[in-house]
Protein backbone atom coordinates (compact mmCIF):
# COMPACT_ATOMS: atom_id res chain seq x y z
CA UNK A 1 0.00 0.00 0.00
CA UNK A 2 1.45 3.37 -0.91
CA UNK A 3 1.98 6.41 1.32
CA UNK A 4 -0.57 8.53 -0.52
CA UNK A 5 -3.29 6.10 0.52
CA UNK A 6 -2.05 6.11 4.13
CA UNK A 7 -2.13 9.92 4.02
CA UNK A 8 -5.75 9.92 2.94
CA UNK A 9 -7.02 7.06 5.05
CA UNK A 10 -5.45 7.93 8.44
CA UNK A 11 -6.11 5.54 11.29
CA UNK A 12 -8.53 8.00 12.92
CA UNK A 13 -10.57 8.17 9.71
CA UNK A 14 -10.65 4.40 9.34
CA UNK A 15 -11.64 4.01 12.98
CA UNK A 16 -14.51 6.51 12.72
CA UNK A 17 -15.71 5.00 9.44
CA UNK A 18 -15.85 1.52 10.98
CA UNK A 19 -17.36 2.67 14.27
CA UNK A 20 -19.07 6.01 13.71
CA UNK A 21 -19.71 7.96 16.93
CA UNK A 22 -23.07 9.57 17.76
CA UNK A 23 -24.74 7.43 15.13
CA UNK A 24 -28.52 7.36 15.31
CA UNK A 25 -31.59 9.59 15.22
CA UNK A 26 -32.01 12.00 18.14
CA UNK A 27 -35.42 12.36 19.81
CA UNK A 28 -34.40 15.58 21.52
CA UNK A 29 -33.24 17.23 18.29
CA UNK A 30 -34.69 20.64 17.46
CA UNK A 31 -32.81 21.03 14.17
CA UNK A 32 -32.20 18.54 11.40
CA UNK A 33 -31.00 18.61 7.82
CA UNK A 34 -30.35 16.16 4.97
CA UNK A 35 -27.25 15.96 2.83
CA UNK A 36 -26.95 14.13 -0.48
CA UNK A 37 -24.04 13.66 -2.85
CA UNK A 38 -25.60 12.67 -6.18
CA UNK A 39 -22.20 11.77 -7.62
CA UNK A 40 -21.69 8.76 -5.36
CA UNK A 41 -25.08 8.39 -3.69
CA UNK A 42 -23.86 9.32 -0.20
CA UNK A 43 -26.74 10.39 2.05
CA UNK A 44 -26.86 11.58 5.60
CA UNK A 45 -29.28 13.15 8.04
CA UNK A 46 -27.86 15.34 10.75
CA UNK A 47 -29.66 15.99 14.06
CA UNK A 48 -28.83 18.89 16.37
CA UNK A 49 -30.00 20.01 19.78
CA UNK A 50 -29.40 23.76 19.88
CA UNK A 51 -29.97 25.63 23.17
CA UNK A 52 -28.97 29.11 24.28
CA UNK A 53 -27.14 29.73 21.00
CA UNK A 54 -24.93 26.66 21.25
CA UNK A 55 -24.91 23.10 19.87
CA UNK A 56 -25.61 20.87 22.86
CA UNK A 57 -25.70 17.58 21.01
CA UNK A 58 -25.23 16.28 17.48
CA UNK A 59 -25.89 12.92 15.84
CA UNK A 60 -26.31 11.51 12.36
CA UNK A 61 -27.58 8.59 10.32
CA UNK A 62 -26.61 7.83 6.76
CA UNK A 63 -24.89 5.72 4.21
CA UNK A 64 -21.64 6.76 2.64
CA UNK A 65 -17.99 6.13 1.93
CA UNK A 66 -15.29 6.00 4.60
CA UNK A 67 -14.39 9.66 4.16
CA UNK A 68 -17.94 10.98 4.41
CA UNK A 69 -18.86 8.69 7.31
CA UNK A 70 -15.74 9.55 9.31
CA UNK A 71 -16.24 13.23 8.56
CA UNK A 72 -19.81 13.14 9.89
CA UNK A 73 -18.72 11.17 12.94
CA UNK A 74 -15.90 13.56 13.83
CA UNK A 75 -18.20 16.50 13.15
CA UNK A 76 -20.68 15.33 15.77
CA UNK A 77 -17.87 15.28 18.32
CA UNK A 78 -16.36 18.60 17.27
CA UNK A 79 -19.65 20.53 17.11
CA UNK A 80 -20.83 19.52 20.57
CA UNK A 81 -20.71 22.49 22.94
CA UNK A 82 -19.80 25.04 20.29
CA UNK A 83 -21.67 28.36 20.07
CA UNK A 84 -23.39 28.36 16.67
CA UNK A 85 -21.17 31.18 15.33
CA UNK A 86 -18.09 29.14 16.17
CA UNK A 87 -19.64 26.06 14.58
CA UNK A 88 -20.19 28.06 11.37
CA UNK A 89 -16.59 29.29 11.47
CA UNK A 90 -15.44 25.71 11.89
CA UNK A 91 -17.46 24.70 8.80
CA UNK A 92 -15.54 27.28 6.79
CA UNK A 93 -12.14 26.32 8.26
CA UNK A 94 -12.81 22.68 7.49
CA UNK A 95 -13.92 23.44 3.94
CA UNK A 96 -10.81 25.53 3.31
CA UNK A 97 -8.54 22.82 4.67
CA UNK A 98 -9.88 20.01 2.46
CA UNK A 99 -10.15 22.27 -0.58
CA UNK A 100 -6.50 23.21 -0.09
CA UNK A 101 -7.21 26.95 0.26
CA UNK A 102 -4.49 28.57 2.37
CA UNK A 103 -2.79 27.12 5.43
CA UNK A 104 -5.12 25.15 7.69
CA UNK A 105 -5.91 26.67 11.06
CA UNK A 106 -4.50 23.78 13.08
CA UNK A 107 -5.57 25.15 16.44
CA UNK A 108 -9.24 25.53 15.54
CA UNK A 109 -9.40 22.25 13.62
CA UNK A 110 -7.70 20.06 16.23
CA UNK A 111 -8.40 16.39 15.55
CA UNK A 112 -10.10 17.30 12.27
CA UNK A 113 -6.65 17.91 10.78
CA UNK A 114 -6.62 14.19 9.91
CA UNK A 115 -8.64 15.19 6.84
CA UNK A 116 -5.76 17.26 5.43
CA UNK A 117 -4.84 14.48 3.01
CA UNK A 118 -8.16 14.93 1.19
CA UNK A 119 -6.77 18.06 -0.51
CA UNK A 120 -4.69 15.78 -2.77
CA UNK A 121 -7.83 13.96 -3.95
CA UNK A 122 -10.04 16.51 -5.74
CA UNK A 123 -12.75 13.91 -6.40
CA UNK A 124 -13.05 13.19 -2.68
CA UNK A 125 -13.37 16.77 -1.36
CA UNK A 126 -17.17 16.60 -1.62
CA UNK A 127 -17.23 13.41 0.43
CA UNK A 128 -15.41 15.18 3.25
CA UNK A 129 -17.50 18.36 3.14
CA UNK A 130 -20.98 16.81 2.83
CA UNK A 131 -21.60 16.61 6.59
CA UNK A 132 -20.26 20.13 7.10
CA UNK A 133 -22.51 21.74 4.51
CA UNK A 134 -25.35 19.84 6.14
CA UNK A 135 -24.36 21.22 9.55
CA UNK A 136 -24.52 24.76 8.17
CA UNK A 137 -27.96 24.07 6.70
CA UNK A 138 -29.19 22.61 10.00
CA UNK A 139 -27.98 25.64 11.94
CA UNK A 140 -29.44 28.03 9.41
CA UNK A 141 -32.53 25.79 9.11
CA UNK A 142 -32.86 26.18 5.37
CA UNK A 143 -34.84 22.94 5.38
CA UNK A 144 -33.56 21.93 1.95
CA UNK A 145 -31.53 18.85 1.19
CA UNK A 146 -27.93 19.91 0.78
CA UNK A 147 -26.29 18.67 -2.38
CA UNK A 148 -22.59 18.66 -2.95
CA UNK A 149 -22.76 18.64 -6.71
Amino acid sequence: MNDALRDLYREVILDHSRRPRNYGAMDAANRQSDGFNPLCGDRLRLFLRVEDGAVRQASFVGDGCAISTASASLLTEAARGLPVEEALTLVESFRRMVAGEGEPNGEALGKLAVFQGVRDYPTRVKCATLAWHTLRAAIEQSGETVKTE
Binding site: M1, N2, A4, L5, L8, Y9, L14, S17, R18, L39, C40, G41, D42, R43, D63, G64, C65, A66, I67, T69, Y121, T123, R124, C127
Partner: protein, 411 residues
Protein backbone atom coordinates in the same frame (compact mmCIF):
# COMPACT_ATOMS: atom_id res chain seq x y z
CA UNK B 1 -2.06 -15.16 -21.03
CA UNK B 2 -4.51 -17.38 -22.87
CA UNK B 3 -5.41 -15.74 -26.13
CA UNK B 4 -6.51 -17.33 -29.34
CA UNK B 5 -3.67 -17.10 -31.87
CA UNK B 6 -5.90 -15.21 -34.29
CA UNK B 7 -6.23 -12.32 -31.86
CA UNK B 8 -2.91 -10.49 -31.58
CA UNK B 9 -3.30 -8.68 -28.28
CA UNK B 10 0.23 -7.28 -28.25
CA UNK B 11 -0.28 -5.72 -31.64
CA UNK B 12 -3.70 -4.37 -30.68
CA UNK B 13 -2.28 -2.73 -27.56
CA UNK B 14 0.50 -1.13 -29.57
CA UNK B 15 -2.18 0.61 -31.66
CA UNK B 16 -3.29 2.66 -28.63
CA UNK B 17 -0.72 5.31 -27.68
CA UNK B 18 -2.27 6.02 -24.27
CA UNK B 19 -1.75 2.44 -23.11
CA UNK B 20 2.00 3.04 -22.89
CA UNK B 21 1.57 6.20 -20.78
CA UNK B 22 2.86 5.83 -17.25
CA UNK B 23 1.18 7.34 -14.22
CA UNK B 24 2.90 7.16 -10.81
CA UNK B 25 5.54 4.95 -12.34
CA UNK B 26 3.24 2.36 -13.84
CA UNK B 27 1.00 1.79 -16.80
CA UNK B 28 -2.69 2.22 -16.20
CA UNK B 29 -4.94 -0.80 -16.31
CA UNK B 30 -7.83 0.93 -18.03
CA UNK B 31 -11.00 -0.93 -17.04
CA UNK B 32 -13.48 1.89 -17.59
CA UNK B 33 -14.39 1.23 -21.20
CA UNK B 34 -18.13 1.34 -20.65
CA UNK B 35 -17.69 5.00 -19.66
CA UNK B 36 -15.43 5.78 -22.61
CA UNK B 37 -12.85 3.87 -24.59
CA UNK B 38 -9.33 4.87 -25.62
CA UNK B 39 -8.45 5.72 -29.23
CA UNK B 40 -6.22 3.84 -31.65
CA UNK B 41 -3.59 5.68 -33.70
CA UNK B 42 -5.72 5.18 -36.84
CA UNK B 43 -8.56 7.26 -35.36
CA UNK B 44 -6.25 10.03 -34.14
CA UNK B 45 -4.56 10.17 -37.56
CA UNK B 46 -7.86 10.22 -39.44
CA UNK B 47 -9.02 13.26 -37.45
CA UNK B 48 -5.68 15.05 -37.94
CA UNK B 49 -5.80 14.25 -41.64
CA UNK B 50 -9.04 16.20 -42.06
CA UNK B 51 -7.63 19.31 -40.39
CA UNK B 52 -4.34 19.03 -42.26
CA UNK B 53 -5.62 18.36 -45.75
CA UNK B 54 -9.27 19.21 -46.23
CA UNK B 55 -10.95 21.27 -43.56
CA UNK B 56 -13.55 23.99 -44.18
CA UNK B 57 -17.28 24.30 -43.58
CA UNK B 58 -19.28 21.69 -45.42
CA UNK B 59 -22.17 21.65 -47.92
CA UNK B 60 -21.89 25.30 -48.88
CA UNK B 61 -18.49 26.52 -50.04
CA UNK B 62 -17.71 26.39 -53.74
CA UNK B 63 -14.02 26.20 -52.95
CA UNK B 64 -11.84 23.13 -52.94
CA UNK B 65 -11.41 22.83 -49.16
CA UNK B 66 -15.15 22.85 -48.60
CA UNK B 67 -15.54 20.22 -51.29
CA UNK B 68 -12.93 18.02 -49.62
CA UNK B 69 -14.45 18.49 -46.18
CA UNK B 70 -17.90 17.63 -47.53
CA UNK B 71 -16.50 14.52 -49.16
CA UNK B 72 -14.81 13.44 -45.89
CA UNK B 73 -18.06 14.00 -44.01
CA UNK B 74 -20.40 12.27 -46.44
CA UNK B 75 -18.04 9.35 -47.00
CA UNK B 76 -18.12 8.85 -43.22
CA UNK B 77 -21.90 8.82 -43.33
CA UNK B 78 -21.83 6.06 -45.96
CA UNK B 79 -19.32 4.14 -43.85
CA UNK B 80 -21.51 4.36 -40.74
CA UNK B 81 -24.56 3.33 -42.77
CA UNK B 82 -22.65 0.15 -43.59
CA UNK B 83 -21.55 -0.26 -39.95
CA UNK B 84 -25.13 -0.28 -38.62
CA UNK B 85 -26.66 -2.05 -41.61
CA UNK B 86 -28.80 0.88 -42.83
CA UNK B 87 -30.69 0.66 -46.09
CA UNK B 88 -29.21 3.97 -47.23
CA UNK B 89 -26.85 6.66 -46.00
CA UNK B 90 -29.79 9.10 -45.73
CA UNK B 91 -30.91 7.14 -42.68
CA UNK B 92 -27.77 8.10 -40.75
CA UNK B 93 -27.94 11.32 -38.71
CA UNK B 94 -24.78 12.56 -37.06
CA UNK B 95 -25.40 13.62 -33.46
CA UNK B 96 -23.20 14.42 -30.46
CA UNK B 97 -23.70 10.98 -28.99
CA UNK B 98 -26.35 8.58 -27.78
CA UNK B 99 -27.76 11.15 -25.37
CA UNK B 100 -28.43 13.60 -28.16
CA UNK B 101 -29.78 10.81 -30.38
CA UNK B 102 -32.26 9.75 -27.71
CA UNK B 103 -33.26 13.35 -27.02
CA UNK B 104 -33.86 13.87 -30.72
CA UNK B 105 -36.04 10.76 -31.02
CA UNK B 106 -37.94 11.47 -27.80
CA UNK B 107 -38.64 15.04 -28.84
CA UNK B 108 -39.45 14.51 -32.52
CA UNK B 109 -41.07 11.05 -32.45
CA UNK B 110 -42.75 11.97 -29.17
CA UNK B 111 -44.38 15.08 -30.60
CA UNK B 112 -45.36 13.12 -33.71
CA UNK B 113 -46.77 10.00 -32.08
CA UNK B 114 -47.82 10.72 -28.50
CA UNK B 115 -51.25 11.91 -27.37
CA UNK B 116 -52.74 12.20 -23.93
CA UNK B 117 -53.11 8.77 -22.32
CA UNK B 118 -50.57 7.09 -24.63
CA UNK B 119 -47.76 5.14 -23.03
CA UNK B 120 -44.02 4.91 -23.50
CA UNK B 121 -42.59 1.62 -22.24
CA UNK B 122 -39.01 1.58 -20.96
CA UNK B 123 -37.21 -0.91 -18.71
CA UNK B 124 -35.90 -0.64 -15.17
CA UNK B 125 -32.31 -0.82 -16.42
CA UNK B 126 -32.29 2.30 -18.57
CA UNK B 127 -29.58 4.94 -18.42
CA UNK B 128 -30.92 8.35 -17.35
CA UNK B 129 -30.54 9.44 -20.97
CA UNK B 130 -33.25 6.95 -21.96
CA UNK B 131 -35.56 8.02 -19.13
CA UNK B 132 -35.44 11.78 -18.74
CA UNK B 133 -36.06 12.76 -22.41
CA UNK B 134 -39.21 10.60 -22.39
CA UNK B 135 -40.38 12.18 -19.14
CA UNK B 136 -39.87 15.58 -20.71
CA UNK B 137 -41.95 14.77 -23.81
CA UNK B 138 -44.54 12.97 -21.68
CA UNK B 139 -45.04 16.15 -19.71
CA UNK B 140 -45.57 18.02 -22.95
CA UNK B 141 -48.00 15.52 -24.50
CA UNK B 142 -49.80 14.02 -21.51
CA UNK B 143 -48.38 10.56 -22.20
CA UNK B 144 -47.25 8.19 -19.44
CA UNK B 145 -43.84 6.61 -18.97
CA UNK B 146 -43.74 3.01 -17.69
CA UNK B 147 -40.77 0.79 -16.86
CA UNK B 148 -40.69 -3.00 -17.20
CA UNK B 149 -39.22 -4.82 -14.18
CA UNK B 150 -35.76 -6.33 -13.90
CA UNK B 151 -35.10 -9.77 -12.37
CA UNK B 152 -32.64 -10.53 -9.57
CA UNK B 153 -30.08 -11.64 -12.16
CA UNK B 154 -30.36 -8.28 -13.86
CA UNK B 155 -32.30 -9.57 -16.85
CA UNK B 156 -35.40 -8.01 -18.25
CA UNK B 157 -38.49 -9.67 -16.74
CA UNK B 158 -40.21 -10.58 -20.01
CA UNK B 159 -43.49 -11.53 -18.33
CA UNK B 160 -43.49 -8.14 -16.65
CA UNK B 161 -42.64 -6.51 -19.98
CA UNK B 162 -45.51 -8.30 -21.75
CA UNK B 163 -47.90 -7.34 -18.97
CA UNK B 164 -47.13 -3.65 -19.40
CA UNK B 165 -47.35 -3.71 -23.18
CA UNK B 166 -50.83 -2.73 -24.34
CA UNK B 167 -52.72 -1.00 -27.11
CA UNK B 168 -51.88 2.27 -25.35
CA UNK B 169 -48.15 1.60 -25.84
CA UNK B 170 -47.04 3.87 -28.66
CA UNK B 171 -43.28 3.75 -28.15
CA UNK B 172 -40.96 1.14 -26.64
CA UNK B 173 -37.45 2.37 -25.85
CA UNK B 174 -34.94 -0.12 -24.50
CA UNK B 175 -31.22 -0.35 -23.86
CA UNK B 176 -29.60 -2.98 -26.10
CA UNK B 177 -26.77 -3.65 -23.61
CA UNK B 178 -26.98 -2.34 -20.03
CA UNK B 179 -24.13 0.00 -19.11
CA UNK B 180 -24.40 -0.77 -15.41
CA UNK B 181 -24.78 -4.57 -15.52
CA UNK B 182 -23.66 -5.65 -18.99
CA UNK B 183 -26.95 -7.45 -19.65
CA UNK B 184 -27.66 -8.03 -23.34
CA UNK B 185 -31.40 -7.62 -23.78
CA UNK B 186 -33.46 -9.92 -26.06
CA UNK B 187 -34.13 -7.18 -28.57
CA UNK B 188 -35.42 -9.57 -31.26
CA UNK B 189 -38.22 -10.71 -28.98
CA UNK B 190 -38.84 -7.13 -27.82
CA UNK B 191 -39.09 -6.01 -31.45
CA UNK B 192 -41.58 -8.79 -32.22
CA UNK B 193 -43.77 -7.87 -29.23
CA UNK B 194 -43.61 -4.14 -29.94
CA UNK B 195 -44.55 -4.70 -33.57
CA UNK B 196 -47.56 -6.83 -32.57
CA UNK B 197 -48.90 -3.81 -30.71
CA UNK B 198 -48.00 -1.38 -33.44
CA UNK B 199 -45.53 0.45 -31.18
CA UNK B 200 -42.37 2.14 -32.42
CA UNK B 201 -39.13 0.61 -31.12
CA UNK B 202 -36.13 2.73 -30.15
CA UNK B 203 -32.87 1.06 -29.12
CA UNK B 204 -30.07 2.62 -27.08
CA UNK B 205 -26.99 1.02 -28.55
CA UNK B 206 -24.29 3.00 -26.73
CA UNK B 207 -22.85 -0.12 -25.09
CA UNK B 208 -23.71 -2.53 -27.88
CA UNK B 209 -21.83 -0.85 -30.72
CA UNK B 210 -18.30 -1.85 -29.60
CA UNK B 211 -19.26 -5.46 -28.79
CA UNK B 212 -22.00 -6.67 -31.14
CA UNK B 213 -22.26 -6.72 -34.88
CA UNK B 214 -25.13 -4.40 -35.74
CA UNK B 215 -27.81 -4.93 -38.34
CA UNK B 216 -30.58 -2.47 -37.62
CA UNK B 217 -32.83 -3.91 -40.31
CA UNK B 218 -32.60 -7.44 -38.93
CA UNK B 219 -33.11 -6.11 -35.40
CA UNK B 220 -36.52 -4.82 -36.43
CA UNK B 221 -36.24 -1.50 -34.62
CA UNK B 222 -37.29 1.93 -35.87
CA UNK B 223 -34.47 3.99 -34.36
CA UNK B 224 -31.00 3.07 -33.10
CA UNK B 225 -28.54 5.35 -31.29
CA UNK B 226 -24.83 4.95 -30.65
CA UNK B 227 -21.86 6.98 -29.39
CA UNK B 228 -18.50 7.21 -31.15
CA UNK B 229 -16.46 7.55 -27.99
CA UNK B 230 -17.51 4.17 -26.62
CA UNK B 231 -16.44 2.37 -29.81
CA UNK B 232 -12.87 3.77 -29.94
CA UNK B 233 -13.89 6.84 -31.93
CA UNK B 234 -13.75 10.50 -30.90
CA UNK B 235 -16.01 12.02 -28.26
CA UNK B 236 -18.75 14.42 -29.35
CA UNK B 237 -19.90 12.33 -32.31
CA UNK B 238 -22.50 9.60 -32.57
CA UNK B 239 -25.09 8.17 -34.89
CA UNK B 240 -28.84 8.15 -34.87
CA UNK B 241 -30.19 5.69 -37.38
CA UNK B 242 -33.88 5.92 -38.25
CA UNK B 243 -36.16 4.35 -40.84
CA UNK B 244 -36.34 6.71 -43.76
CA UNK B 245 -40.09 7.10 -43.85
CA UNK B 246 -40.13 7.93 -40.14
CA UNK B 247 -37.32 10.45 -40.46
CA UNK B 248 -39.42 12.06 -43.19
CA UNK B 249 -42.56 12.03 -41.08
CA UNK B 250 -41.36 13.32 -37.70
CA UNK B 251 -40.75 17.03 -37.09
CA UNK B 252 -37.21 18.43 -36.91
CA UNK B 253 -35.37 18.68 -33.59
CA UNK B 254 -33.32 21.86 -33.88
CA UNK B 255 -33.83 24.70 -36.30
CA UNK B 256 -31.12 26.63 -38.08
CA UNK B 257 -28.92 26.59 -41.12
CA UNK B 258 -28.62 23.48 -43.29
CA UNK B 259 -31.91 21.92 -42.11
CA UNK B 260 -34.15 24.12 -44.28
CA UNK B 261 -35.15 24.28 -47.90
CA UNK B 262 -36.57 27.81 -47.89
CA UNK B 263 -37.05 30.34 -45.13
CA UNK B 264 -39.46 33.24 -45.07
CA UNK B 265 -41.25 34.95 -42.23
CA UNK B 266 -44.50 33.55 -43.59
CA UNK B 267 -43.51 29.94 -44.13
CA UNK B 268 -40.35 27.84 -43.78
CA UNK B 269 -39.89 24.47 -45.44
CA UNK B 270 -37.51 21.81 -44.25
CA UNK B 271 -34.78 19.89 -46.00
CA UNK B 272 -34.97 16.12 -46.49
CA UNK B 273 -33.27 13.85 -43.95
CA UNK B 274 -30.48 13.66 -42.97
CA UNK B 275 -29.98 17.43 -43.40
CA UNK B 276 -33.34 18.04 -41.71
CA UNK B 277 -31.82 16.86 -38.42
CA UNK B 278 -28.38 18.44 -38.74
CA UNK B 279 -28.93 22.12 -38.07
CA UNK B 280 -25.86 24.32 -37.93
CA UNK B 281 -22.23 23.55 -38.60
CA UNK B 282 -21.76 19.99 -37.36
CA UNK B 283 -18.77 18.20 -35.89
CA UNK B 284 -16.90 17.84 -39.20
CA UNK B 285 -13.80 15.86 -38.25
CA UNK B 286 -15.64 13.68 -35.70
CA UNK B 287 -17.46 11.51 -38.25
CA UNK B 288 -14.17 10.85 -40.02
CA UNK B 289 -12.66 9.60 -36.78
CA UNK B 290 -15.78 7.55 -36.13
CA UNK B 291 -15.57 5.96 -39.59
CA UNK B 292 -11.91 5.12 -38.88
CA UNK B 293 -13.01 3.48 -35.62
CA UNK B 294 -15.57 1.41 -37.55
CA UNK B 295 -12.80 0.37 -39.96
CA UNK B 296 -10.58 -0.54 -37.03
CA UNK B 297 -13.25 -2.66 -35.35
CA UNK B 298 -14.25 -4.40 -38.56
CA UNK B 299 -10.62 -5.16 -39.41
CA UNK B 300 -10.20 -6.92 -36.06
CA UNK B 301 -13.64 -8.48 -36.45
CA UNK B 302 -16.33 -7.68 -33.92
CA UNK B 303 -17.01 -11.37 -33.18
CA UNK B 304 -13.28 -11.86 -32.47
CA UNK B 305 -13.27 -8.75 -30.24
CA UNK B 306 -16.34 -9.99 -28.39
CA UNK B 307 -14.77 -13.41 -27.90
CA UNK B 308 -11.62 -11.87 -26.46
CA UNK B 309 -13.61 -9.61 -24.14
CA UNK B 310 -15.78 -12.51 -22.97
CA UNK B 311 -12.62 -14.43 -22.04
CA UNK B 312 -11.28 -11.49 -20.02
CA UNK B 313 -14.65 -10.91 -18.36
CA UNK B 314 -15.07 -14.56 -17.42
CA UNK B 315 -11.57 -14.56 -16.00
CA UNK B 316 -12.41 -11.44 -13.99
CA UNK B 317 -15.61 -13.03 -12.69
CA UNK B 318 -13.72 -16.12 -11.57
CA UNK B 319 -11.00 -14.04 -9.84
CA UNK B 320 -13.52 -11.76 -8.13
CA UNK B 321 -15.51 -14.78 -6.94
CA UNK B 322 -12.48 -15.69 -4.80
CA UNK B 323 -12.68 -12.42 -2.86
CA UNK B 324 -14.67 -12.89 0.34
CA UNK B 325 -17.64 -10.56 0.72
CA UNK B 326 -17.63 -9.51 -2.92
CA UNK B 327 -20.93 -9.77 -4.75
CA UNK B 328 -21.36 -9.31 -8.50
CA UNK B 329 -24.45 -7.25 -9.32
CA UNK B 330 -25.94 -8.44 -12.60
CA UNK B 331 -25.41 -12.08 -13.56
CA UNK B 332 -27.41 -12.22 -16.77
CA UNK B 333 -26.93 -15.23 -19.01
CA UNK B 334 -26.25 -12.96 -21.97
CA UNK B 335 -23.66 -10.40 -20.94
CA UNK B 336 -21.24 -7.96 -22.54
CA UNK B 337 -17.89 -6.98 -21.06
CA UNK B 338 -19.04 -5.48 -17.75
CA UNK B 339 -18.62 -6.67 -14.16
CA UNK B 340 -20.40 -4.54 -11.57
CA UNK B 341 -19.80 -5.42 -7.95
CA UNK B 342 -20.08 -4.41 -4.32
CA UNK B 343 -17.86 -5.47 -1.42
CA UNK B 344 -19.16 -5.89 2.14
CA UNK B 345 -17.86 -3.19 4.43
CA UNK B 346 -16.13 -1.16 1.72
CA UNK B 347 -17.91 1.64 -0.08
CA UNK B 348 -17.46 1.63 -3.90
CA UNK B 349 -16.06 5.15 -3.80
CA UNK B 350 -13.27 4.06 -1.45
CA UNK B 351 -12.59 1.03 -3.65
CA UNK B 352 -12.25 3.37 -6.62
CA UNK B 353 -9.72 5.57 -4.84
CA UNK B 354 -7.59 2.63 -3.71
CA UNK B 355 -7.67 1.06 -7.18
CA UNK B 356 -6.73 4.39 -8.74
CA UNK B 357 -3.68 4.57 -6.50
CA UNK B 358 -2.76 1.09 -7.71
CA UNK B 359 -3.05 2.26 -11.32
CA UNK B 360 -6.35 0.51 -12.02
CA UNK B 361 -9.12 2.70 -13.51
CA UNK B 362 -12.68 1.58 -12.74
CA UNK B 363 -15.91 3.50 -12.45
CA UNK B 364 -17.73 3.80 -9.15
CA UNK B 365 -21.13 5.32 -8.55
CA UNK B 366 -24.67 4.83 -9.82
CA UNK B 367 -23.62 4.80 -13.50
CA UNK B 368 -26.48 7.16 -14.37
CA UNK B 369 -28.93 4.37 -13.54
CA UNK B 370 -30.41 5.44 -10.20
CA UNK B 371 -33.64 3.41 -10.59
CA UNK B 372 -31.57 0.28 -11.24
CA UNK B 373 -29.37 0.88 -8.18
CA UNK B 374 -32.57 1.29 -6.17
CA UNK B 375 -33.83 -2.02 -7.61
CA UNK B 376 -30.73 -3.80 -6.30
CA UNK B 377 -30.76 -1.91 -3.00
CA UNK B 378 -27.28 -0.45 -3.43
CA UNK B 379 -26.37 3.26 -3.52
CA UNK B 380 -23.60 2.55 -5.99
CA UNK B 381 -21.37 -0.18 -7.41
CA UNK B 382 -17.80 -0.47 -8.61
CA UNK B 383 -17.68 -1.43 -12.27
CA UNK B 384 -14.87 -2.95 -14.28
CA UNK B 385 -15.63 -2.83 -18.00
CA UNK B 386 -13.40 -4.38 -20.62
CA UNK B 387 -12.38 -3.40 -24.10
CA UNK B 388 -10.56 -5.02 -26.97
CA UNK B 389 -7.12 -4.22 -25.49
CA UNK B 390 -7.58 -5.49 -21.93
CA UNK B 391 -5.57 -8.40 -20.63
CA UNK B 392 -5.82 -11.05 -17.95
CA UNK B 393 -2.74 -9.46 -16.36
CA UNK B 394 -4.82 -6.29 -15.87
CA UNK B 395 -7.50 -8.39 -14.20
CA UNK B 396 -4.79 -9.63 -11.84
CA UNK B 397 -3.96 -6.02 -10.98
CA UNK B 398 -7.65 -5.40 -10.27
CA UNK B 399 -7.75 -8.39 -7.95
CA UNK B 400 -4.55 -7.26 -6.20
CA UNK B 401 -5.93 -3.74 -5.77
CA UNK B 402 -9.10 -5.14 -4.22
CA UNK B 403 -6.88 -7.09 -1.84
CA UNK B 404 -5.20 -3.84 -0.80
CA UNK B 405 -8.59 -2.22 -0.23
CA UNK B 406 -9.75 -5.08 1.97
CA UNK B 407 -6.56 -4.93 3.99
CA UNK B 408 -7.12 -1.21 4.52
CA UNK B 409 -10.82 -1.13 5.32
CA UNK B 410 -11.54 -4.42 7.00
CA UNK B 411 -10.54 -4.28 10.65
Amino acid sequence: MISAPAYDLEKVRADFPILSEEVRGQRIAYLDNAASSQKPRAVLDAVDHVYETGYANIHRGVHILSERATEHYERSRRRMARFVGAQSADEVIFVRGTTEGLNLVASSLGRYALREGDEVLLTGMEHHSNIVPWQMVAELTGAKVLAAPVTDRGELDMDGFRALLSDRTRIVSVVHVSNALGTVNPVDEIARLAKQRGAYLVLDGAQAAPHLRLDVQALGCDFYCLSGHKMYGPSGIGVLWGKKRLLEAIPPYQGGGEMIRTVSFERTTYAEPPAKFEAGTPNIAGPVGLAAAADYLDALGIPEVAEHEARVREYAESRLAEIPGLRVVGTAREKAAVVSFVVDGVHPHDLGTVLDQEGVAVRTGHHCTQPLMERFGVPATARASFGLYNTEAEVERLAAGLGTALELFRP
